[in-house]
């Protein structure tokens, strides 16, 4: 469902194990690293990503694609813009602040037998308000949308499933997101690792989950345990 709004240029990314991936520019520039390469004009030929394995790169590309699709589908930016335009239209027509729209002016002055433009705007606005203010309407509309399981929620669920992987893949994703500077992915993976740590009920479990070897001497460990003895 990708749009062809942009140039539709396709970039070639080469993974550590020499696999080539063809990715649309709009998708690839979610990565700050690749964005910088493109802006520096060095995107001729193949962009080598020396530390990212093809398996991980495939997942990363999937992530980027999903986010590009999400932004396009919801285009929350343009929704807000639409609303702003709509609201400012209302205000303009009311206040007639040297609006360039001659027609609107004429229409208003025709209608306007009783008083100032502002008054009319107020009447008009209050008519609108009888149905619940404009803003409220917009909010209700948005809330209805959300009732169908908001898209944001869907994305969140998708993201949670995406990072619900084994430790090695998570580790690879973490390093890849860091190397490629993909903020959204990095944030989500960091959150996931933190969640995994939180789920561990004891120190041993944390060690086991992450394969950490304790390098404390028994005395040092005792010291630390004492320092945190105020925990239950």
């Amino acid at each position: 469902m990708s749009s062809s709004n942009n140039s539709g240029k396709v970039l070639k990314l080469k993974s550590k194990d020499n696999q080539i991936f063809e990715v649309e520019e709009s998708v690839a520039i979610q990565s700050e690293l690749i964005k910088n390469v493109v802006e520096a004009g060095c995107d001729i030929g193949v962009i080598p990503l020396l530390t990212v394995h093809s398996k991980t790169l495939r997942n990363v590309i999937e992530w980027c694609q999903k986010h590009v699709d999400y932004v396009e589908e919801n285009d929350s930016g343009s929704n807000e813009e639409e609303i702003k335009n709509w609201e400012s239209e209302i205000c303009e027509e009311g206040n007639n602040n040297g609006s360039d729209d001659e027609e609107t002016k004429n229409w208003e002055s025709e209608e306007n037998n009783n008083g100032s433009d502002e008054e009319e705007a107020k009447n008009w606005e209050s008519e609108g308000n009888n149905d619940g203010s404009n803003k409220e309407e917009v909010e209700n509309w948005e809330w209805e949308e959300n009732n169908d399981g908001s898209d944001e929620e869907e994305l969140e669920n998708w993201e949670s499933k995406f990072v619900d992987v084994d430790k090695d893949s998570l580790y690879a994703l973490l390093l890849a997101a860091d190397y490629l500077s993909i903020d959204s992915l990095l944030e989500r993976v960091i959150k996931q690792v933190a969640d995994v740590i939180k789920q561990c009920r004891s120190v041993e479990e944390v060690r086991q989950t992450f394969g950490i070897k304790s390098d404390f001497t028994p005395e040092e460990e005792e010291e630390i345990r004492e320092e945190i003895s105020w925990i239950d």
């Binding site: 939180k198 944390v206 404390f216």
Partner: protein, 356 residues
């Protein structure tokens, strides 16, 4: 930020290699920051400090400590010790505002160190920490830590106003009552009522927020069935119960739990003849005799602030007290209690008006 360091240890790679091995320090710190800010109890955070030297060092990094949330610092009163004190001090020096507030409260009320406690709370208040501002307001209203003459009503109102501006529900209520009664500020009944309504609305909104999030996660239920929820949660938030809208009482700050347990479990001593605020969720003790105000009808309960009084009234005191309750200061300085026509308690009436 830390310089990126690739930790290449000289350990042999065993069949289960350390996940954090190849992760640079700054990423680990980011992970631990996320951890400290989102844990729901201290254990979950502290576990990581015991795993190995590197994680211990990075876990105690000031950046990580500064991000620790209130729940990560939720010391239990019965476990209070020098090490707990040290840990909180550590967090304070790392710049953790929650720790400033928590330690400030503990020092002021439990350790009887008024000056240090107040200055820690002031530190948090200056960074716009709403609970700290509110707590300082309560101290000013009551002249806690000093004599009756140390009360500074106007300072209290100013602090309350700042906390209320940040959306603190108790502060909104307190300020609303002050405005209605002309206490520490010029009387403005409409404005006071408006603030009381706003306090109710905020409380409802935040409760609904948690309800909605929970329900969406569990069942994708579209309509919120208030009655259903009331059935599930039992006694609900009193101020909205008149609507048949029982929402759960909002969660208090962990330090209030600390204070309550400190005195109730006898970890610390409550001075001779001193009482705790009768609102269960508060935990503040008096710092001198007759500091708090009591319910003038039954005289059996005392409150540190109007906010606590109002909440407790609807939560449970309404049923155990008589219908005529007056908010009165001991020693006869009646204030804020008059004005209720027909002998109705002002607070109660105000609340009804606020709701109706």
């Amino acid at each position: 930020m830390l310089q990126r360091k690739k930790q290449r240890t000289s350990r042999k790679i065993t069949d289960k290699s350390d996940l954090f091995d190849g992760v640079p320090d700054d990423l680990v710190v980011s992970i631990l920051c996320k951890l400290s800010s989102s844990v729901s109890r201290p254990t979950d955070f502290v576990n990581i400090l015991l795993t190995c030297k590197r994680l211990n060092r990075l876990g105690l990094h000031p950046l990580v400590l500064s991000k620790a949330g209130p729940k990560a610092l939720a010391v239990k009163a019965q476990n209070w010790s020098d090490s707990a004190h040290r840990f909180l001090k550590h967090c304070v020096s790392a710049g953790n505002i929650e720790a400033c507030y928590t330690l400030g409260m503990i020092r002021f009320y439990c350790l009887q160190n008024r000056g240090s406690g107040a200055s820690l709370m002031a530190k948090a208040a200056m960074k716009s920490h709403a609970p700290a501002l509110y707590s300082l307001a309560v101290i000013q209203f009551n002249g806690s830590g000093g004599s009756k003459n140390n009360k500074d009503l106007r300072a209290g109102v100013a602090l309350c106003a700042r906390a209320a501006f940040l959306g603190h529900v108790d502060a909104l209520r307190e300020l609303g009552h002050c405005l209605q009664d002309g206490y520490g500020v010029r009387q403005n009944i409409t404005e006071g009522r408006r603030l009381l309504i706003q306090a109710n609305a905020r409380e409802l909104a935040s409760s609904l927020n948690t309800i909605v999030k929970r329900q969406l996660k569990q069942q994708h239920q579209r309509r919120l069935n208030y009655q259903h929820y009331a059935y599930m949660t039992g006694s609900g938030c009193p101020l909205l119960s008149d609507f048949g809208c029982n929402v759960p009482v909002p969660e208090g700050h962990p330090v209030n739990v600390f204070l309550k347990e400190w005195f109730e479990l006898g970890v610390g001593e409550l001075g001779q003849g001193l009482r705790l605020c009768s609102h269960r969720g508060c935990g503040r003790p008096e710092t001198r005799a007759h500091e708090f105000r009591r319910c003038s009808v039954c005289g059996t309960v005392n409150y540190c602030s109007r906010g606590c009084q109002a909440l407790d009234w609807k939560l449970r005191h309404k049923v155990e007290c008589g219908p005529m309750e007056r908010w009165q200061e001991e020693g006869g300085n009646g204030n804020g209690g008059d004005g209720g026509a027909g002998g109705m308690e002002e607070v109660g009436e105000a609340e009804d008006l606020a709701i109706g």
